[in-house]
Symmetry: C2
Subunit: 117 residues, 2 copies
DNA sequence: CTTCATTCTATAGACACTCTACACAATGAT
DNA sequence: ATCATTGTGTAGAGTGTCTATAGAATGAAG
């Protein structure tokens, strides 16, 4: 029998910003919702810890990729809604491209060639 | 005209071990050769700095995934040849699977769905 | 009305890894 | 001798995720 696939995998450093920005492309959202969306869409493979999430959001805001306003969530709690800025969209495109390139490079190295010892 | 593709991309933290182990699947090699092989196979996209390479090799050796012997390189210089150990092979399989899983998860989140704002 | 679970934001500190920059040794060529 | 090349190595900075902890605000239960 095959080993069961991992139910969770750690984030690689530098990928969280991309995930958050990509999620905000669907529209404004608060931190909690962003984390849950990423977890759901990734089939529970990615789980964003709050200790990573909020620093990341503050980072992105400080750099101007996103901005925030306090509002009320659907559940009636106060929540900070984040939305992509125009520079943020450009940054997302660039980050996405960097990811694709890196993933392709990894694929090139990992690819079996039949020459292995 | 399209923007030219990046000629180099930084390593994501945690991926170097996998690249090194994968390279050693071709057979024993010294540090310098490992770095050059990765760079070549990745079409120059990945460039391994010596300040990353040697700590990584020492790490892998300390954990028993690889072992080393001093020999002479083809160019006649002294060089430390590394080779995969048996546990190292198992570790490579596991690390590779973790990478595939992570890359798949990233793909799921990044994938365009047509619902974006 | 007071307890409790839930939702949501936040920070501190530990930890791990890659990077830049620098240093050094040994060989072969000129 | 001098020099470029090959090859190994370390120090320190920087970055970003993790665990652990805290607390505010709301609605529900008793």
């Amino acid at each position: 029998m095959k080993p069961s696939p991992p139910s969770r995998v750690d984030l690689l450093q530098g990928t969280l910003d991309l995930l958050v920005l990509r999620t905000l492309l669907f529209g404004p959202a608060h931190g909690h919702a962003i984390a849950k969306h990423i977890q759901a869409v990734s089939e529970e493979l990615l789980q964003i810890e709050t200790g990573s999430l909020y620093p990341a959001l503050h980072r992105l805001e400080a750099q101007g990729w996103i901005d925030a306003t306090w509002e009320k969530s659907e559940k009636g709690k106060r929540a900070k809604y984040y939305r992509l800025t125009s520079p943020g969209r450009k940054h997302l495109v660039a980050e996405r491209m960097k990811w694709e390139t890196f993933a392709r490079a990894m694929g090139l190295v990992l690819k079996p060639t039949g020459e292995e010892a």
